[in-house]
C-alpha cells in the first residue's frame, strides 16, 4: 500500500483499472458472481447484456458509496449499500424493459438478481467505502470489464459448441458445417456451463496466467 501511495494518481487510476481485468478477475480469480456467470452465458448476446448491466450498476454504486463514505455510519453500511445497489438495478431493469425488451426477456430473473451479485456488494465493502471517487470509478470499470470478458469467454465456448454457430444481435458471424446440424446442445444447458467454467478455470491455473490471491 505504501508503494502505491508514492505513484501519481493517474498511474494509480490505471493500476486499479487493469487489476480488475486480470490480477483480480472476479470470475476466474476471486470466483465471485458465479450465479450469473453460469446462468446467462448461453449466448454472447446475453453475456454482453449482463456485462453491460453489471458495469453500469457497479459504476453507479461505487461512485455513490465512495461519495457518501465519510458520512455513512458503520452500523448501517450494509443496508445502505444494498439500497443504493437495488436502486440502480431497478432503474436498469425499467430501462431494459422499456427500450430493449428482447434482452430484458432473455436475462429474465438474473437482471433483478444483480442486486445480490456478490461482486457489486464486494467492491462496495472492499474498495469503494475506503477509496476516493476517482479510484472507485477505475475499480468499477476494471472489475466490470473483467467480469464481462469472463462471461464472453464462457459464452463463446458454449454458443459455438452448443449451437454450432456464432451470432451477435441476430447477425450470424459464422456457422460450422457439421456441428450446426447436430449441435452439442448439452453445452447450452446448465451442466454445460459448469463444465466450460471449470475447464477454463483449470486451464488458466495450469497456464499460470492466474494465481490464487
Amino acid at each position: 500500500m505504501s508503494q502505491l501511495k508514492e505513484i501519481s494518481p493517474g498511474k494509480k487510476f490505471w493500476v486499479e483499472f487493469v487489476k480488475g481485468i486480470v490480477v483480480t478477475n472476479p470470475v476466474f480469480v476471486l470466483v465471485l458472481g458465479l450465479c450469473p456467470a453460469l446462468a446467462v452465458t448461453s449466448s454472447i448476446d446475453n453475456a454482453l447484456g449482463m456485462g453491460a448491466g453489471v458495469i453500469f450498476v457497479l459504476l453507479c454504486s461505487n461512485i455513490i458509496i465512495s461519495l457518501i463514505r465519510k458520512i455513512t455510519p458503520d452500523m448501517v453500511r450494509i443496508p445502505v449499500f444494498i439500497v443504493v445497489i437495488a436502486t440502480f438495478v431497478t432503474i436498469l431493469s425499467l430501462v431494459f424493459e422499456a427500450y430493449i425488451p428482447p434482452l430484458y426477456e432473455s436475462l429474465g430473473i438474473y437482471l433483478a438478481l444483480i442486486v445480490v451479485n456478490c461482486i457489486i456488494l464486494g467492491r462496495a465493502e472492499a474498495f469503494a467505502q475506503k477509496n476516493p471517487v476517482l479510484y472507485s470509478i477505475a475499480d468499477a470499470f476494471g472489475i466490470g470489464i473483467g467480469f464481462t470478458v469472463s462471461l464472453l469467454l464462457v459464452s463463446l465456448f458454449r454458443e459455438i459448441l452448443g449451437t454450432g454457430s456464432l451470432s451477435i444481435f441476430g447477425f450470424t458471424l459464422f456457422s460450422i458445417p457439421v456441428l450446426s446440424e447436430t449441435p452439442m446442445a448439452f453445452f447450452i444447458m446448465p451442466p454445460g456451463a459448469f463444465l466450460v467454467l471449470g475447464l477454463l478455470l483449470a486451464l488458466f491455473r495450469w497456464l499460470g496466467v492466474l494465481k490464487n490471491e
Binding site: P73, V76, V80, V83, T90, I91, V95, E97, G108, I109
Partner: protein, 188 residues
C-alpha cells in the same frame, strides 16, 4: 480557530449521535424511492407501448387472416373482412415463479385456436418450456372442457419437471375461457 473547532465538533456530534444511523438510512431510502418513481414514470408509457406492439404481433400470429380487431372491455373481437374470425383475450396464471402472462385465441365455435405465452418468470430450462410450441400446440382445437392436464381429466400433457407451470397455464386458460365465452354469448 475557535469557530472551526466548534463546527467540527458539531459535525462530529451529529455523526456520533445514536439516532444518526437510523436517520441516514431513512434519508437514503427516501432518495432511492423517489428516484425510482421518477424513472418509473418516464419508462411507464414506453413499457405499455412495447406490450401493445407485442400483443398486436401475437394476434397476427394466432389469426393470420386478421384484417382488423376491436377491443371490447375484456376481450378482442377479431375480424377477417366483415366476418368475425374469433376472439382473443389476455390472461394471467399463477406459476411456480410468479405470474405467467398469456394471450389466447378462440375461434367462432369457442374452440382454442392457439395460445402464446407473453412473459413468464418460471425456472429457466424447465418451467420456461411452457412458451415452446411443443407445449402450446397441444391446446389447438380443444374445447373448453378439454383444457386441463391429463391427470385432471383434460387433454394436456404436463412438461416433465414442470407440472406446476403446466397446470397454471391450463387451469388459468380453462377458467378464463369459461368467463369470456359467457361474456361473448351474453353480448349477442
Amino acid at each position: 480557530m475557535e469557530n472551526n473547532k466548534n463546527s467540527k465538533s458539531a459535525g462530529r456530534k451529529i455523526l456520533e449521535s445514536k439516532i444518526y444511523p437510523l436517520v441516514f438510512l431513512v434519508i437514503i431510502v427516501l432518495i432511492s424511492v423517489s428516484l425510482i418513481m421518477v424513472i418509473g414514470n418516464i419508462t411507464q408509457a414506453k413499457i405499455a407501448q412495447q406490450r401493445d406492439a407485442e400483443i398486436l404481433k401475437q394476434l397476427n400470429i394466432i389469426f393470420p387472416e386478421m384484417t382488423d380487431f376491436k377491443y371490447l372491455d375484456k376481450y378482442y373481437e377479431i375480424y377477417a373482412g366483415n366476418d368475425i374470425a374469433g376472439f382473443a383475450f389476455t390472461l394471467k396464471g399463477k406459476g411456480y415463479g410468479g405470474d405467467i402472462n398469456m394471450l389466447a385465441g378462440i375461434d367462432s365455435n369457442y374452440n382454442v385456436k392457439a395460445i402464446s405465452i407473453l412473459s413468464n418468470t418460471e425456472t429457466p430450462g424447465l418451467g420456461t418450456k411452457i412458451a415452446e410450441s411443443s407445449f402450446t400446440d397441444q391446446f389447438k382445437g380443444l374445447g373448453q372442457q378439454d383444457v386441463g392436464l391429463t391427470i385432471d381429466g383434460g387433454k394436456i400433457d404436463a412438461i416433465t419437471g414442470a407440472t406446476i407451470s403446466s397446470k397454471a397455464v391450463a387451469d388459468a386458460l380453462r377458467g378464463q375461457m369459461e368467463e369470456i365465452i359467457e361474456l361473448i354469448k351474453n353480448s349477442n
